[in-house]
Symmetry: none
Subunit: 222 residues, 4 copies
């Protein structure tokens, strides 16, 4: 018996040929990642079932395990990827801000808000209250701490920052503050104008109370 296929790709789909699996495989994987991100953001790791993710990704339940060892592996990948992106953008923003610490703080804050708006789900997973996320890499926040702490140390040492701040404590405080405010704001950005958020967070950074030269986004100014 002979059956006609109108194209190679149709055949791929219908009979499972191995000729061009890479593209399809990557696509499926991507869809699982997306589905997982959305669901985890909404319900948390344990409330989401692998079957749910598969369904939302439009694949069969078993397919999930062709792409990820288990549910936690998918979760981990989402968390780490998001974190990686966050660090990269924060570093870039810091570098572009030049030497002025105030401008750097402001730039980083603005960048976080921008990123958060783009990837609401990822933000909820990263910074939301989810014990499982925390259990993954000790604490997601801890990835951000060293940078913050060393900058604070420099600032205090240089006499610019206040002397009675303990750098480690202050670092914990700032990271918590930023992540919380960003998570809260992005949940409904109409509550408070973006500029107010940036101003407030910048102000709360030590030395942030000093007269700022910039008043507005990341617009370059002299």
């Amino acid at each position: 018996m002979w059956v006609k296929f109108s194209s190679l790709s149709e055949m791929n789909v219908r009979s499972g040929s191995k000729t061009a699996p890479a593209r399809s495989r990557a696509a499926t994987r991507k869809r699982l990642l997306t589905a997982g991100t959305e669901l985890f953001a909404r319900q948390g790791l344990h409330a989401v079932t692998s079957a749910q993710i598969a369904r939302r990704a439009g694949v069969a339940a078993g397919t999930f395990y062709l792409h990820f060892k288990d549910k936690e592996a998918l979760f981990r990948e989402i968390v780490f990827e998001a974190l990686e992106q966050l660090r990269e953008r924060l570093d870039r923003a810091t570098a572009e801000a030049g030497d002025d610490p105030q401008r750097a703080v402001r730039a980083r804050t603005a960048e976080m808000l921008a990123l958060a708006e783009k990837h609401r789900s990822a933000v909820r997973i990263l910074f939301g209250r989810d014990r499982e996320a925390a259990d993954l890499g000790e604490d997601v926040l801890s990835h951000l701490l060293p940078g913050v702490e060393s900058r604070l140390r420099e600032s205090i040492a240089s006499g610019e920052g206040p002397k009675d701040l303990h750098p480690t404590v202050a670092a914990q405080a700032f990271v918590a503050m930023w992540t919380r405010v960003v998570t809260w704001w992005v949940e409904d950005p109409r509550r408070v104008p973006r500029e107010a958020v940036i101003d407030t967070l910048t102000h709360l950074y030590p030395g942030g109370a000093a007269p700022r030269r910039v008043r507005g986004g990341n617009t370059k100014q002299t």
Copy 2:
């Protein structure tokens, strides 16, 4: 007619008073609460099974349900009781601190640290990252927000606090900062001296950088 009893407690037992069984019942309940608190603090709501709690409390699995409708009821009770205690102590500390806002902030911070040391597990449950806890009372933190926000508004209105802080945003920031730092510190208080924590948190409160009239602790006074 007179009947001799050798003691009051014997009489309780022999005449069917409710105190004897009640005491036992209360004790079991208390042990379940304690066991639950410890386990939830370590593993979170969903990772703990009712059987685990019962075992740790030294009772049979079914006994759990004689005292709590289900696992979540126990969890809720722990959360609400801890929250109640926290609010009460913060209110008392605020009242005792008198009119000086700086002293009040410092007093509240010190009180939180003291409470946290006494009830480490409760702190982890309250402030830790646990989606389930959050789902209970919308957000545990939100219980603390209104007070913080209104104090900030007053402070800003009175000209004492900085003008470019958005009260709502700043309230989110402060609460996040406090809860996070307290949770972190109490995990291993030897890392940083208590006074450094108090100083840092107080300083980060707007206007906190101003010369403080210290009220307690081992800070040097002038």
Copy 3:
């Protein structure tokens, strides 16, 4: 320490003396029977818990087992007692009705309705659809069958009853009919007048279609 009791019976209650336990014991037992009857009628054997029965009887859970081996023993006792009463009253009614079979049928029917009104709960337990009740004595109905069947046989043999009725089958049919109609009627007696029920059931008895002398209750007529 001495405690005053105002009477012996008070002491009995309060300290559990053995002096006059019989009355109390019988009363407790009776209350458990009543509670059980009401609950079983409403919910069936398995849906009722022993604790429920005890609570409704106003005694502690454990007390139940001082009076009945287990839940089923209580159930059995209720069923058998009710059945005994039913047979006794049917027999009496039959005897009092004299020789006329029509009058006897009518009298038995009236008696069943009267009994059913008095003991609605018992009726529901006996005749209601409860597999457990059936499992007790093969089938509750079977207790009534032999009498019905033998009367039918006589009637047919004497030429009075129709020839093409199979006595065993007809007995099944009549018993089912009676129990069902009684159970249905007693659930809401306002739906149909009592006389209509009696007339209908009497009529459906073989030979019942013959001109009846009586038209109304159990009024004696010649």
Copy 4:
């Protein structure tokens, strides 16, 4: 492009048609239905566990829930399906019997016996004493009542049926009679010849005592 398959069924498998898995799924479902029917007939809804059903169907415990929401859903399906079949066959029998009410009664009775022999378990579930079954559709019997009652009304109105029957009461009586006798007979059909059952039930129908023109069976005709 043409691809060769060695058979149609191979194609089904290789191209992901739904028929192959669907057939398997349907088979499992069917086996669960059968197993459930047999067990429910013997022990009633609540005495049967979902695990028992699964075991008897030869599948794992969890498989049950891939096919039915819960135990009651399976039960409901069994009851409703059986009821549907019963009504359909009764209606057909009635229609085929033509205008003669006697013939119709006889045809319906014969049909019920035939159906009952084919599906003993279903009969026990439908007509057996099972509170749970009753709770499903108020009362299974009630599905049959309206038809019976309206036929009785017509019969009485036309002067054919006896005047002193209350149609509602009589309908209750007849349905109870039929269901009970059928259930009883089918439990051991050797006790009484089928024709005796049919004759008896037909006779008991009002007007049934009148000379009948028989339509089938081995009854002697004139």
